[in-house]
């Protein structure tokens, strides 16, 4: 009888939507499994060398970076979130969203901007020398090594912690904070005794996002000369052409990711307080006198350092190099970036919509499915890149007889030298961005309309096009823009998986910076930043809508 029931239930669920979802999940899972399988293959000489002399250093640097960035972004993000959520002071409304703007500057662009700006010939030192006749010790201002990377990561990634913590404090903590105030506790005590413990899951959530960014980074660490596992993956691949060792390194990085995943569970365990569902917005307390000025200065300094100063510096450089850089090749660059981003985004959204629709059934299958398709976001770009590359090379070997029959030569690399590889990489990495936006849309509309449609004799597919799609249109648009922007900014995947002579704005910017043509890199940097600001604005608008 049990098998009968299983057969009945499978028959009930089995349809085109299910099959497409399954294919999407396999495409995402395959490269990851491929990387893990490399552990069981026989190691080569390169790997023995890496393991004996280098691996310890790579792992140590990676962990130091993660820990220090985690601590500093938490400090900055949580204090700013608390000040903005709980207090009123001059320009607070502006800072509320202005403090998200550092996210629009990709960290590798921030790194070369700061390094050049604070360098010997940069604006800071030359102004001090020429205007004030003051010779500062260059070492004090040097942005390099781990301290430089932590400085850049903290200043430009803290908004993840700030955004999530602020949203939590503004919407769900009101009753507790007001009670603590009524019970006569001082602001500092309220912060330590009530705010911090309650918002721990939100803070941890924000820090984890920061950590994923740091682990997947290639731009900052390679530019500042730090050897991490991610940079090592690039070196073994491009320097030694050793995919096998690169895969082993990726597997090591995966071990760290899994460790962080469990650490997150542990940190959140027992801390999921049942919070009152009746949420009122927190009424901010007006800060007077010095306290108000201090809050303004604190937010102002972070905004200046995290956005305005590097942005103005880039504008200045762009003005200097505009005539030289802005030509037809630059237009081609923009076209290529937009082209690959649009195709990838459409692919992501189509599969997101299908999987999110299947996931509405809330069965254990759909739960696992949604976890698989969103897993790419927590996997650093270099790991995805190496997994995709390995799969595509295997595919090319497998298809070699077909190629030869088509007259394409003996064992050529067709797929692994094509743009498809990069698109698949983006698909895996940014599926979560599209999926989450669509899922929010489905959650908002609920199941009642599609159930009503099915009760009127309309099947699942027609129901989707006639009822669901018009209702989730808004989420679809925001999902499209957010995914598009993420892809435009992306660096490691594009560097590793692009075909020969194919550049995106991000890779070109990186290339300029790497060739010490910092000024020339500014126009493409600004273009990326402007596109990213668009995403911040949209996030803000979505936040407002949800609040309403």
């Amino acid at each position: 009888m049990k098998t009968q029931l299983i057969r009945r239930n499978m028959k009930k669920e089995f349809n085109g939507w299910w099959i497409i979802s399954l294919v999407g999940a396999v495409v995402i899972l395959l490269p990851i499994l491929f990387i893990f399988s490399s552990i069981f293959q026989e190691a080569n000489e390169n790997w023995l060398h890496i393991r004996q002399y280098l691996l310890k250093n790579y792992v140590a640097n990676t962990i130091i970076l993660v820990v220090l960035t985690g601590i500093f972004t938490a400090l900055l993000g949580v204090t700013l979130a608390w000040i903005i959520a709980a207090y009123d002071f001059p320009l607070k409304r502006f800072f509320r969203w202005g403090l998200l703007l550092p996210l629009s500057i990709p960290t590798f662009i921030a790194a070369y901007t700061y390094r050049t700006m604070l360098g010997y010939t940069g604006v800071v030192q030359s102004t001090l020398r020429n205007q004030f006749d003051y010779q500062i010790n260059s070492e004090w201002l040097r942005v390099s090594g781990i301290s430089g990377a932590v400085f850049i990561f903290t200043l430009f990634l803290f908004p993840y912690v700030y955004l999530i913590t602020r949203a939590f404090l503004e919407s769900q903590s009101t009753a507790y904070i007001e009670n603590a105030r009524l019970l006569g506790r001082k602001p500092l005590a309220v912060f330590y005794k009530v705010v911090l413990p309650l918002s721990r899951p939100a803070i941890v959530g924000g820090i984890i996002l920061v950590i994923y960014e740091v682990l997947g980074d290639y731009g900052v660490t390679s530019y500042l000369g730090i050897h991490t596992i991610s940079t090592a993956i690039f070196q073994t691949w491009f320097g030694m052409y050793d995919v096998n060792s690169a895969m082993r390194l990726a597997a090591w990085l995966m071990v760290i990711i899994v460790g962080i995943f469990f650490l997150e569970r542990l940190l959140r365990q027992g801390r999921r307080y049942h919070l009152s569902s009746k949420s009122r917005p927190l009424v901010p307390v007006k800060l007077k006198g010095i306290a108000g000025i201090a809050a303004f200065v604190y937010c102002g300094i972070v905004f200046l350092l995290g956005f305005l100063i590097p942005f103005i510096q880039l504008l200045f450089w762009a003005k200097m190099t505009f005539v030289k850089v802005w030509d037809s090749t630059f237009i081609t660059l923009v076209y290529q970036t937009v082209f690959v981003a649009v195709i990838s985004t459409i692919m992501i959204l189509v599969i997101s919509v299908v999987v999110a629709n299947v996931s509405r059934s809330h069965s254990s299958f759909s739960f696992i499915l949604s976890k698989i398709v969103t897993s790419g976001y927590s996997i650093p770009g270099p790991i995805i890149a190496i997994g995709v590359l390995a799969i595509f090379i295997s595919l090319d070997h497998w298809l070699a007889p077909v190629y030869s029959k088509l007259g394409l030569g003996e064992a050529p690399l067709i797929l692994s030298l094509s743009l498809i590889m990069l698109i698949v990489g983006y698909f895996i990495r940014f599926m979560a961005t599209g999926f989450n936006a669509i899922e929010v849309g489905f959650e908002k509309t609920g199941k009642k309309y599609s159930e009503a449609s099915r009760m009127l004799g309309i099947g699942m597919t027609k129901t989707f096009f006639k009822v669901d799609l018009p209702l989730i249109k808004g989420s679809l648009i925001s999902g499209f823009i957010l995914t598009f922007v993420e892809i435009c900014k992306e660096l490691p995947l594009a560097l590793l998986l692009r075909p020969f002579n194919f550049e995106t704005l991000a890779t070109k910017t990186y290339q300029y910076a790497n060739d010490e043509q910092i000024y020339e890199a500014s126009i493409s940097s600004l273009l990326i930043i402007v596109i990213s600001i668009l995403s911040v604005v949209i996030l803000q608008m979505i936040g407002k809508k949800v609040k309403k």
Partner: protein, 229 residues
């Protein structure tokens, strides 16, 4: 002739939880109006979702007009069961007008007959003047009538109603309830209605059952109900 036959129905939300509905049986004849009463969590709405195919039972059989729609080896999708449903909050499609909402379920009908059917339905619920309005432009009572018209338009074999009066004001409720039951009688519709209000049942149901009690198999007539009260 019975339109809905339920035999030994058992349902649980997860394998770890105790069944919400256990070994439940019911038979509803043509044109009968059955009320289902019970406290929240007793499985009233779940029963409707099982009949309509929006949930799947652990065991048991449901037949509609002589066709088995679910058993241990059969599962007919909701859209193919010939069941109409009026949802608790009506679930009128917000992006469609009243007319489009009613037309929605008529896609299998010949094109030329559809317009006539819509007009018939609007007349039945006395909402002829509102066909171009959107759901948010209607009052609660008007929305409920359109939801009923939409559910009846495709001529379902049985109509299921989930707390159809719970979103209405107390003074409105009584008049609308009477109107609704008149419409159903006029249409000679077999109907199962879930409610938590005994007055709804007493007003028009042929008989009622109380879920979440040991004797769910026994029908309680409205008269008997009054004596309980």
């Amino acid at each position: 002739m019975s339109i809905v036959d339920i035999e030994g129905l058992t349902f649980s939300f997860s394998r770890k939880e105790a069944p919400v509905i256990k070994d439940f049986s019911l038979s509803v004849g043509k044109g009968e109006l059955v009320g289902i009463l019970g406290q929240s969590g007793s499985g009233k709405s779940t029963l409707l979702r099982l009949i309509s195919g929006l949930e799947t039972p652990l065991s048991g059989t449901i037949s509609i007009a002589g066709t088995t729609v679910v058993s241990n080896h059969v599962f007919i999708q909701p859209e193919n069961r010939g069941v109409g449903m009026v949802f608790q909050d009506y679930a009128l499609f917000p992006h469609m007008t009243v007319k489009e909402n009613i037309l929605f379920g008529l896609s299998k009908m010949p094109r030329k007959d559809r317009k006539q059917r819509v007009d018939e339905m609007l007349e039945l619920v006395q909402m002829e003047k509102f066909e171009k309005r959107f759901p948010h432009e209607l009052s609660g009572g008007q929305q409920q009538r359109i939801a009923l018209a939409r559910a009846l338009a495709p001529k379902p074999k049985v109509l299921l109603m989930d707390e159809p009066f719970s979103n209405l004001d107390a003074d409105l409720k009584e008049s609308i309830r009477e109107e609704l039951f008149n419409i159903l009688r006029k249409a000679d519709m077999t109907c199962i209605m879930v409610t938590h209000d005994r007055n709804d049942v007493e007003a028009a149901c042929d008989y009622s059952i109380v879920m979440g009690q040991a004797d769910v198999k026994n029908h309680i007539s409205p008269k008997k109900f009054q004596s309980i009260k």
